[in-house]
Symmetry: C2
Subunit: 336 residues, 2 copies
């Protein structure tokens, strides 16, 4: 495997993505805010704490069961801001369009962004459009960046995670990845599985209301639940144990995974998140999630212990234990 | 000319770009902040006035005389924030990379971003990388979004422009467009013409210091000086007259324009801006520009009058007058 050119794996949220960040972006762009390496940067302007985040969306196909690149571009950035404990307020939108892209499709996508923004309580306030010649891009790419306002007093960060913390997940995993893959591979299962793409800002507001001691939140997007928990274990030095039995996966998603040889643990989600909080607050947070439309199937899936520091351990359904590493090698490209 | 698909002209900053914005983006994403249609949105969070802006960069070639896509992506967004009267503070960076892009080139580009950010006094605090398969993008696309802090008391906006305002330009126009085109067309003139790509944040700070009554600022990027002044005339309803003789153009840029049949008035710049201020402040603003490294060749190029409202009139070098419209039809694609 050559390492002197960009590989698809550099973009999959796994080992090579992290290597690219650690060896290229961080050393060159060096600053303390970037080095936090969370879903969003947190900074202070004129005494106000703000969060700031960006993502580019290249999902293929750009219309998929349960959503499209427009709603996804809003949800993704809204969710990244929310994970910092912020109220998402403003989005930017940068479009890169391929010459020949149907104008009607663009209108559908922008309408979908508008609807998603309204539902998430944010406004798209600034934008940009570039057009490149046929063959120089693939239809449509959208970048969104967002600004949120943080009023929660606690420091929501991997560095706040402590032994004794409970890990709470807001529902079934793998729906987004399975929806995209079944559409892309023409499995004919499109009607069964919809992407879980959704704005988590309201859910997060309820979670923050339920506990004054939320330590960390992260949405389980690229790389899935497995990748983000392995990354959190590495970043925080926490010893994380999760129970396979406690993680909700729909039968239809399991079915697609079996057909395609995928593991739901590493399938992308666009409306799933984990919250870390002291064990004493776990029931209150679970309840807050279950009372929200995007957390009906929430579950406590694991804990932070004193041992196995920096590692993610899975108690398997058949009674064993195995360590989960950051995925290396090709996951699903262009999932978001 | 078909209008049911995206054309290259939808991205050139001219008539079709504006039509796309007016007919697709604005009606769907409707809100007062977006409708200002300035280089950046201005909003208030917790009593602080902030500016927010985004641009995607698809410049081809990604290394060009006087810069590269990395420095350009920093300068472009820094300048858009500056045009709102803000001090640019934080940037996001979203990369879309084509599989096979040389890692060394990426490192050069990121190093160039870092250097440009340091020079402009901003920090890249959050980012994202996506990789698409060979053929699904053209090398590298970068989106930057930025946040600035506004402490200037005046309302810097097209709506503040008044009859009697002077229009001051900070130097020679067309360098960026001519540099890109001579490189792209292999004119062999590369060593002569360098892009003017530069951060204007320091220059703007000096301008705001020089006059408490700056009415409007805009950088003359895509579409060039002609397009942005025609757009400002339309947006503000101001009657703008500029004198061709007063607009600095380098001989080398004129030469490239003659060979390629281009008009410097519509060539892109990446370090040029205009400021509108009351005539009484014009000399102070001119002086402030000329004292700055990015304004040595600044000139007063025009005025806002009582007549010709909503129109841009050029007093030509040969003693005539002609109206300048927003350019329609293909300008130079992928100039930024």
């Amino acid at each position: 495997m050559s390492t002197d050119t960009i590989l698809l794996e550099h973009g999959d949220g796994g080992l090579l993505s992290n290597k690219l960040i650690a060896e290229t972006f961080l050393p060159l762009l060096k600053n303390d805010l970037l080095e936090r390496m969370e879903d969003c940067a947190v900074m202070e302007i004129g005494g106000q704490r703000l969060s700031f985040s960006t993502d580019s969306y290249v999902v293929q196909p750009c219309f998929f069961p349960g959503g499209d690149i427009g709603s996804l571009a809003v949800h993704g950035t809204v969710n990244d801001l929310s994970m910092g404990g912020a109220t998402p307020l403003y989005l930017s939108a940068g479009f890169i369009l391929e010459e020949g892209f149907p104008l009607d499709d663009l209108k559908k996508i922008v309408a979908s962004m508008a609807e998603a923004a309204q539902k998430a309580g944010v406004r798209v306030v600034t934008g940009d459009t570039k057009v490149v010649a046929r063959g120089a891009a693939d239809g449509i790419f959208i970048n969104t960046a967002g600004i949120g306002h943080i009023t929660y007093p606690g420091d929501i960060s991997v560095s706040s995670i402590r032994p004794g913390d409970a890990i709470i997940l807001n529902g079934h995993i793998g729906d987004h990845g399975a929806a995209i893959m079944s559409k892309r591979e023409n499995l004919g299962l499109e009607t069964d599985i919809l992407s879980d793409s959704a704005p988590l800002s309201g859910l997060v507001a309820d979670i923050l209301q339920a506990s004054p001691a939320i330590h960390c939140m992260r949405d389980a997007t690229r790389g899935g639940l497995g990748a983000i928990l392995a990354e959190i274990a590495q970043q925080s030095g926490a010893g994380i144990t999760i129970a396979e039995n406690s993680i909700p996966v729909k039968d239809s998603v399991r079915g697609v995974c079996e057909i395609l040889g995928l593991d739901p643990l590493f399938l992308a989600n666009e409306g799933k998140m984990v919250a870390f909080c002291p064990g004493n607050d776990a029931q209150a947070v679970l309840q807050a999630m279950q009372n929200h439309e995007y957390g009906r199937d929430a579950a406590i899936i694991g804990t932070v212990g004193e041992s196995d520091r920096g590692r993610l351990i899975l108690d398997t359904a058949i009674g064993g234990q195995r360590e989960i590493d950051l995925p290396a090698g090709e996951l699903v490209p262009r999932i978001c």
